[in-house]
C-alpha cells in the first residue's frame, strides 16, 4: 500500500460542469409523466439514495509497473462517473490517446465508465480514512 493517505486530497483539474454526472437519459413519455407528479414525490425521487457527502476520497495505487504519482488521494464529486477519474489519471500520467489505462477497484474488477464514484465508494471504501482504493496499470493487471 502506498503512503500519503493522511495528506489533504487534491482537487482534480478537470471541469466540474456536470457533464460527467452518472445519469442516463429517460424517454420523453416517462419524462412527461414525471412532470405531473406532486412536488414532494419529485423531490423524494431526485434525492433518494444520494450520499450526504458532496465529495469522496479516492486513493490511487500504481500496479504492474505503472508510474507512481506524487498525489495519491483525490477528492471527487460523488455524483460523477468513474470515467472522470480515468480521464484525470490519463492526464496526470500524460498518456497519449493511443495508450491504454486500466483501472480496478479492490484489485478485483474494472468498473464500467458510467458507474458513479458515489456508488463505488459506498460499497468498496476501505480503511480508517474511508477511501476508495483504485489500482491503475497501463496493461491489463487482474485477469
Amino acid at each position: 500500500m502506498s503512503e500519503g493517505s493522511s495528506s489533504a486530497p487534491a482537487s482534480p483539474g478537470l471541469s466540474d460542469d456536470g457533464q460527467n454526472a452518472g445519469e442516463a437519459p429517460l424517454t420523453m413519455e416517462a419524462s412527461t409523466l414525471l412532470t405531473t407528479l406532486p412536488v414532494d414525490t419529485k423531490h423524494a425521487l431526485a434525492s433518494a439514495g444520494k450520499l450526504p457527502l458532496s465529495k469522496v476520497r479516492i486513493h490511487v495505487q500504481p500496479v504492474a509497473g505503472a508510474t507512481p504519482l506524487k498525489t495519491t488521494v483525490f477528492a471527487l464529486t460523488s455524483s460523477h462517473r468513474f470515467e472522470l477519474l480515468v480521464q484525470l489519471l490519463r492526464k496526470k500520467l500524460r498518456l497519449q490517446p493511443h495508450e491504454s489505462l486500466f483501472c480496478y477497484v479492490g484489485s478485483v474488477f474494472a468498473p464500467a465508465l458510467d458507474e458513479t464514484v458515489e456508488n463505488l465508494w459506498r460499497c468498496f471504501k476501505q480503511g480508517p480514512n474511508r477511501e476508495l482504493y483504485v489500482q491503475y496499470a497501463v496493461s491489463p493487471a487482474f485477469g
Binding site: 437519459p25 424517454t27 412527461t32 468498473p111 464500467a112 458507474e115
Partner: protein
C-alpha cells in the same frame, strides 16, 4: 412444491422469459421508403448486442451504406440509446412504459405487446454508449467485470470469479451468448455458493427515474435514470432476513418510509412488481440476471 422445487421452477421461468421485439431501421440509414421490421422473441436475461450481426444481415439491402460494420449499429427507444451492458429485461422495465404485473393481478397471463425499437447504423452516440468490436471483446469485458463486482460484493473477496478456470469462464460467457442454460448454470451455481467463505451482501442496483430540473416553464425536458448501489447485507441489524422492503427502507427511507407498504413507487424486476416481504437472498438465488445482479427498476404509483 418444496422450497427447492420452487426455486428451480422460478430460476427456469426467469431464464426462459422473453420479450417480443419489433425492430425497424432508422430512416436516415434506409435507402428504401418502407423496409420490413425484424421480429424476434428475445430473452429478458440476454444482451441486445448479440442481435446486431443478424440485424445487419436482415437490413443489408435497405442500408444506404451496406458495408458498414455491425459494430457501428446501435438501438434506440423513444430517443434513448439502449446500453449494451444492461440486459433486455432491465431496459424493458426501465423504458417500455409497460405496466408491471403484480401478484394481486388475477387476470390470465397476458402476452407482452411487442416492444418497438429502432436500429441505427450511423451517428453512434459515443458520449452515451460504449463502442463494440466485431470480436465481441468489449461486451464480454463489460459482462465479466459486472460478474466480478457482484462476486466481490457477495463474498467480500471476488476470488470465486478470479479463480475460475479458463474453460469455466469461457463456458459462463458462451452460456450467456448462446443463452444455453446447461453451459451457464453449473458455473453460475459455483459463483452463488463460494467455497469456504460466507455470503455477505446481495448485489443490488436500483434504477430511479426522476424529472429534469425545470428550465423552461412550458417545455418538457427529458428526465434521467439514476443508479443507486449500496451494500445490502443478507440479514438486517436485528438479525432478521433482509427483505426488499427493509433494504429499500434503509437505502432510501424518503421514498420507502415503510418496510411493508409502497407509497410512492413500486420495485419492479422481470416485468413484475416485487413483493416487499420477499427475501433478497431468495431473489438473488432465483431471479438474478446472468451477471449476478438484481437490477431493480421502479414504477410510480
Amino acid at each position: 412444491m418444496s422450497n427447492r422445487d420452487t426455486a428451480t421452477w422460478l430460476r427456469e421461468r426467469v431464464w426462459h422469459a422473453s420479450i417480443p421485439l419489433e425492430i425497424r431501421l432508422h430512416k436516415a440509414d434506409s435507402s428504401s421508403y418502407d423496409s420490413d421490421a425484424y421480429l424476434v422473441h428475445f430473452p429478458r436475461l440476454s444482451y441486445l448486442a448479440f442481435l446486431l450481426p443478424e440485424l445487419h444481415t436482415f437490413f443489408y439491402n435497405d442500408l444506404i451504406y451496406p458495408d458498414v460494420s455491425w459494430a457501428d449499429a446501435w438501438l434506440e427507444y423513444d430517443g434513448v440509446p439502449l446500453k449494451w451492458h444492461y440486459p433486455l429485461g432491465l431496459l424493458h422495465d426501465l423504458y417500455s412504459g409497460a405496466a408491471p404485473v403484480s401478484a394481486h393481478d388475477t387476470s390470465e397471463e397476458k402476452e407482452t405487446p411487442s416492444w418497438q425499437l429502432t436500429v441505427h447504423f450511423s451517428k453512434y452516440p459515443e458520449d452515451q454508449l460504449v463502442r463494440l468490436d466485431t470480436d465481441g471483446k468489449h461486451l464480454r469485458d463489460l459482462f465479466t467485470n459486472n460478474v466480478k463486482e457482484a462476486d466481490y460484493l457477495r463474498n467480500g473477496t471476488g476470488r470465486t470469479m478470479m479463480f475460475l478456470g479458463k474453460q469455466e469462464s469461457q463456458d459462463l460467457w458462451e452460456g450467456v451468448r448462446k443463452h444455453d442454460f446447461n453451459l451457464f448454470h453449473p458455473i453460475y451455481t459455483q459463483l452463488m455458493n463460494p467455497k469456504g467463505v460466507a455470503l455477505r451482501h446481495v448485489p443490488v442496483r436500483l434504477y430511479l427515474p426522476h424529472a429534469a430540473d425545470p428550465q423552461a416553464e412550458e417545455e418538457i425536458t427529458p428526465g434521467s435514470v439514476r443508479v443507486v448501489q449500496e451494500l445490502v447485507p443478507l440479514n438486517t441489524s436485528s438479525r432478521q432476513p433482509q427483505t426488499v422492503g427493509s433494504a429499500l427502507n434503509s437505502i432510501m427511507g424518503g421514498l420507502f418510509p415503510n418496510k411493508r407498504l409502497a407509497l410512492v413507487a413500486e420495485p419492479v424486476l422481470h416485468g413484475a412488481t416485487l413483493p416487499l416481504d420477499a427475501s433478497v437472498e431468495d431473489l438473488m438465488r432465483t431471479s438474478a440476471y446472468c451477471d449476478g445482479w438484481l437490477h431493480i427498476a421502479f414504477a410510480l404509483l
